[in-house]
Amino acid sequence: MTKTPGTPPQLDERARQAQKKRNLWLALALFGFVILVGVTTIVRLADSELGPDGGFYWSNPPQDNSKSMPDLPADNESQPEEGGD
């Protein structure tokens, strides 16, 4: 097998077949890994607790803040009485 710099090695037919088979197994292994990670993620997320509003996301919930804010007391009521005469 001769090889010049910059050119791929010349493989005979048997070597090429063996390489093809190996590549196929490698592809299957990678595919299997992706599927396993995907399945694991789905199962783990399905088992996890949902957000307080029953939604999927805990962070940045799209909600109307004005509705969820509690009513504030009026200004004159909110001032605590300080000191005394």
Partner: protein, 321 residues
């Protein structure tokens, strides 16, 4: 330490690697025992603690244990390619036979290490993943690179690597490793020396040729036979320890007692024989072979009893415990 170039190991006819060669790199027979003991730890943890685990996650965690074992095996084959080429028993392995280049073996080992630990973490928890990573490093680095070629105690200390799986299996369920899990660890730890030394009595000439300081090479066959008997006498009662903590019930107790007696009997046979003598004595070799073969069956049946008790509702506590 020098490693011979794999090009020197190849025969004249080129051999092209098949998928089977890469499977062989992962030491599938060891992998089976590792998976089985890991599964026993997992099933026992469910039975003892009552914690349920998603069956699919348990299956993926078990697969991660198998891949971790394979990764450690590939790293071991990469590092030991030079001595594998010298010994007849291992000369047909993928690297010395020229089917797989050493670089591919270490690449496979490292990638699979990462994949197995990641999968374990995803499917279970950080404790199980850390224990798996530790066991891979223990076998692939500590035993293979530091112990094996340096000390005749290589098998004793290195045996811990093969003892981790039930602890990992337990941690998959509970996220911790309590005393019961470590009892299973101890059983495999004390099982490994008589198991492996029985084999090394048969192949001590090969180890000597490869300059590996196995006990029969450094201290002789008689010392090895004494050590086999000593470890067997320790193993038989230790295997009953899970009964005392309530981890195991009547079926396991009966199995451990009977199997332990047979193990000790076969160890006594080896001790009384001239196994490991030069030139090879057929009777001694037969005794060592019997012990080696039975030791595999012993561990399999012991852990099968645990799976039967906790996985199939056959647990009946020992009266008075």
């Amino acid at each position: 330490m020098s490693h011979v170039d794999t090009a020197d190991m190849t025969s004249d006819a080129p051999r092209y690697a098949t998928a089977g060669d890469y499977v062989q790199l992962m030491k599938p027979r060891i992998m089976m025992l590792v998976v089985f003991t890991g599964l026993a730890g997992l099933v026992s943890a469910v039975g003892v603690t009552g914690v349920s685990v998603n069956p699919l996650m348990a299956a993926i965690a078990t697969l991660a244990i198998a891949l971790g074992s394979g990764a450690a095996g590939a790293i071991n084959m990469w590092y030991d390619a030079d001595i594998d080429a010298i010994m007849k028993r291992t000369s047909t392995r993928p690297i010395p036979s020229g089917a797989v280049p050493r670089e591919e073996a270490i690449a496979l080992g490292l990638v699979m290490s990462g994949v197995s630990v990641l999968l374990m973490w995803l499917a279970s928890n950080a404790v199980a993943a850390a224990l798996l990573a530790l066991s891979i490093a223990y076998y692939g680095w500590f035993y293979t690179m530091l112990l094996k070629r340096r000390t005749p105690q290589n098998i004793v200390i290195g045996g811990a690597a093969g003892a981790f799986p039930p602890v990992i299996g337990w941690a998959v369920v509970t996220g911790s490793a309590p005393l019961d899990a470590w009892l299973l660890f101890v059983i495999i730890f004390f099982w490994t020396p008589p198991h492996f030394w029985a084999l090394s009595l048969l192949a001590h000439g090969e180890y000597k040729k490869a300059n590996v300081p196995m006990l029969p090479v450094t201290h002789g066959a008689k010392t090895t036979r004494n050590q086999i008997l000593a470890y067997s006498l320790l193993l038989a009662p230790l295997a009953l320890a899970p009964v005392l903590t309530g981890l195991a019930g009547i079926i396991y107790a009966a199995a451990a007692a009977v199997l332990g007696l047979v193990f000790v009997k076969l160890a006594v046979d080896v001790w009384r024989s001239d196994a490991g003598a030069v030139p090879v004595q057929p009777e001694g070799a037969k005794a060592a072979k019997r012990l080696f073969a039975f030791s595999i069956l012993y561990l399999f049946l012991l852990f099968a009893a645990l799976i039967l008790e906790h996985g199939f509702g056959a647990y009946f506590a020992m009266p008075g415990i």
